[in-house]
Symmetry: C2
């Protein structure tokens, strides 16, 4: 799974403000209705980026400074274990916020990499701006709490459940149910890694071959 990643270490292309879609505004407002002034400020803090497949939003070892909103496209979060194997921990699909929590909150080097699996339109907000907005606007705090609660907690609690209480087959079909598009968009190997199943076993599950 060696990537031609270095090709893409060019500076981020920035979309014009005008090209900034209202889709993100909608996403923001659907979480909690912000006053127009605050909304404008929040949107202004999010910088739109048009990025190619294979680009790294975050590299292991670097400190994470952003929260991202995936407007279109797909990311995978992974780290390299002590045996050199890439381990996927998360995918973020369009209309979701994402970041690396441990690195962001403690401003410490990230274990995770965040890489694009598809050409994507991403809005990035600096964590320093998030903190400023928190200080400045009470309404933003409320929005932020709800964003964490809806977006983050829910998903993460489910993930624990899957890992703790489902077997390989159940994990796979559970994922298919939640994210039907994944089987087309993400390679078997990447899905297997996320589900903590070997490629071979996932292949057998997919083809309903019993392990005999």
């Amino acid at each position: 799974m060696a990537q031609k990643e270095n090709l893409y270490f060019s500076p981020l292309k920035t979309l014009s403000k005008k090209a900034m879609s209202t889709k993100m505004e909608e996403s923001i407002q659907s979480i909690f209705q912000l006053p127009q002034v605050v909304l404008a400020e929040v949107c202004d803090a999010f910088k739109p980026l048009d990025l190619p497949k294979i680009f790294f939003l975050l590299r292991s070892g670097k400190i994470c400074h952003n929260i991202w909103f995936v407007q279109s496209g797909l990311t995978r979060h992974f780290y390299v274990d002590d045996r050199g194997k890439e381990r996927n921990t998360w995918f973020t699909v369009e209309n979701n916020f994402t970041t690396d929590i441990p690195s962001l909150l403690n401003q410490q080097p990230a274990r995770e990499n965040i890489q694009l699996l598809e050409d994507s339109i991403i809005y990035a907000i600096a964590y320093s701006d998030v903190q400023k907005l928190q200080q400045k606007h009470h309404a933003f705090c409320i929005w932020y709490i709800k964003m964490l609660e809806n977006n983050y907690f829910h998903q993460i609690e489910q993930r624990i459940d899957e890992l703790q209480f489902m077997n390989a087959t159940e994990r796979y079909f559970n994922l298919l149910k939640k994210e039907p598009s994944f089987s087309q968009r993400i390679s078997l190997g990447n899905i297997a890694s996320y589900l903590n199943i070997s490629q071979e076993t996932l292949s057998r599950i997919r083809n309903e071959k019993p392990t005999f």
Copy 2:
């Protein structure tokens, strides 16, 4: 693991306000320094309870209305799986906040039970009061965000890691390192359930007997 739980279905004993320790105040202030007025209001919203071992803070099927602060004592979170087996999902030790997120946030029946493993002093705040405080005090929002971030995220991300990337032996020693007191305070069976290991295997791990 049949409990004599019903013995304790008496109304909650409430401690006098005077008995309310400053320990919780300290815990609150250590997360984020609140203005005196706000702090007073927050403390006032937390009701102290002196509860016996085996008491249930939350029962599966009920809607969770509170966030709790464990001043002293210990809780276990568990649910009963489809085969009738109790599955521990979490322990909360003194000086930590706890609740059942899925039930609290969506005000839906809980899957989890939260039960005391020791006589405990618990401070309970109604979620409705949390929401009122959020609306009323900007500072409280900031405190709340930090509380979630420090308290919750960090622990929960670690939990995913343990489940996804560690084997049984690693999970056990990792827990011992993080919570050395657990081996004294919590029965082997309860620890095994939390670690998602059978009692027998955990017993062998503890006694360094290889599985042959």
